[in-house]
Amino acid sequence: MARVRLDHVRKQYDNGFVAVHDASFEIHDGEFVVLVGPSGCGKSTTLRMIAGLETISSGTLMIGDRVVNDVAPKDRDIAMVFQNYALYPHMTVFDNMAFGLKLRGFSKQEIRERVHRAAEILDIGGILDRKPRQLSGGQRQRVAVGRAIVRQPQVFLFDEPLSNLDAKLRVQMRAEISRLHRQLGTTMVYVTHDQVEAMTMGDRIVVMNGGHIQQIDEPMNIYHRPYNRFVAEFIGSPSMNFVEGDIVVNEGMSFVSSDAAFSLKLENEVTEKLRDWIGNKIVLGIRPEDIYVAGGHGVPERTGHVTATIDVVEPMGNEIFLYARAGAHRLVARVAPQPLPQPEASVTLALDLSRLHFFDPETEINIAFEAPGVMA
């Protein structure tokens, strides 16, 4: 097992496009780190640099205690699982899994043992004689994982391995990969655009956007203390609500939405940090689950009220999504099951004042952010 360390790693493609700017982070021995971000943000490029499939334009990459910038993929002691599985179509499942071992000169006996052990872990013992085209998507995925684990590498790399599976299978495989990580204890780097996968699987999450690392932290810290507006918006579903407005002072500090549709009296803890913003534009953020219907269940003590009009009601069974508008602003609330409000009805929303986030409208950085982890 090994740690992976990136030090000012940069990738510029032949056409001049810079896909990764100055990435620096360390993945600890045995850690499960998820790289997450929208499509095209440079996740795969980062992973492929770790794998050795793309050259590194500048910076250093270490696996274990070795600088591997110029080491061929096969000598990095890594294994990778690809989005499209990348099984060898002309080989049986057994041969797909055994191929890397054969090339490394393992004995027939050892190969058979390892393949069967992996097949048992992944529950694919019954399909070892089949060709990939005779397998379902879920089975192919397992074989692809099996091919990676038989090698017992120092680091596993996953590039959106679940994207091609249907929703149900995805949830199941998610849990299985997590279990596999616990079982093997090997360092894993997992790329996904799905924030749910990032939140549920990662020991730590690296959020990327436009080739830049936005934030690196544990899932709950990322969720509750996003470094900037991008992270706040990307992580969580439905997304965080954002309202532009001003900080004003008259008998205490308030946030007033830009069209003055509503205002919120701010509490002591936040006023401290917002002192410099008095009279300035600011962006307020609040997650849907921190908005309640006033007078309903579980409304916290200190709330600010906003009168809004219901647009759409989405009952999910265990919860309800309310899409509402207050003046020109749109708010999504995620509330407990209750009698459904009608569209176009007026509703009083209660915003949890202890859960407000504030962002600099220029830099989009979280104003109250105190760095516990590393920042880009």
Partner: protein
Amino acid sequence: MKKALAYIALVLGTVVFAYPFVWMALATFKPELEIGELALWPSRWTLESYRLVFETIPLERAFLNSVIVVVAVTGSALVFGSMAAYALARLRWRGREAVFSLILFTMMVPFLVLLIPLYTLVVRFGWADSLLGLIVPFMMNATAVLILRQSFLTIPQDIVDAARIDGCSEARILFTIVWPLSVPALVTAGIIVFIGNWNEVLWPLIVIRQEQWMTMPQMVALFAVGGGAQARLGPQLAAALLLGLPIIVAYLFFQRHFISSLATTGLKG
């Protein structure tokens, strides 16, 4: 009604294309005097024409030479052609586009233009009047490179990457991963090289003087035009038929791959 018309057209077409060949095949079994007549079917079957062919020229030896040459040429065109195609399709290197253009360009140069310089080179290397002179100049084939490159481009990058991580060298990726996935293209390229080389007359006529190194087409051509056949039509046709036979056999053998490859290259490329 429409369908019937279509079938009639197809049958007519087939007859038009097949007739000369069928006529020729049957004529080789006719007595010489009967060949000029219109009738398709021999009134009496005879192997007289074939006897004369085998009596006059060392056809077995020529056949062996041809097989050696065509196997060596086709084999190396596929092996080396695949290497070039792989480098052009799957590796990133400076000058790749330029080299590819150059290969395309060589396809447009008529062989006649190259004849004299090529002959001079072969003589210098001491390969004239030997099978090497027939093999070496054709070990690379631009058409084969083109067909193979096109096919290699369709193989998903992830599979190549997976093989790299699994521990394959590029050569091993080519021969253990890419080749098995490119069988139709290999067959197509192989047949094209095979047919082109098997039928080659001009080049052997220039390079080979000694009868022992002559290939079948050369031998048959000399036999037909050079008086060996004593101006008799039967033996000439028989020799020509023998010449064409391996091609027909090869085609029948591979036609499934050949047709499926021709049918799909357009879709995939």
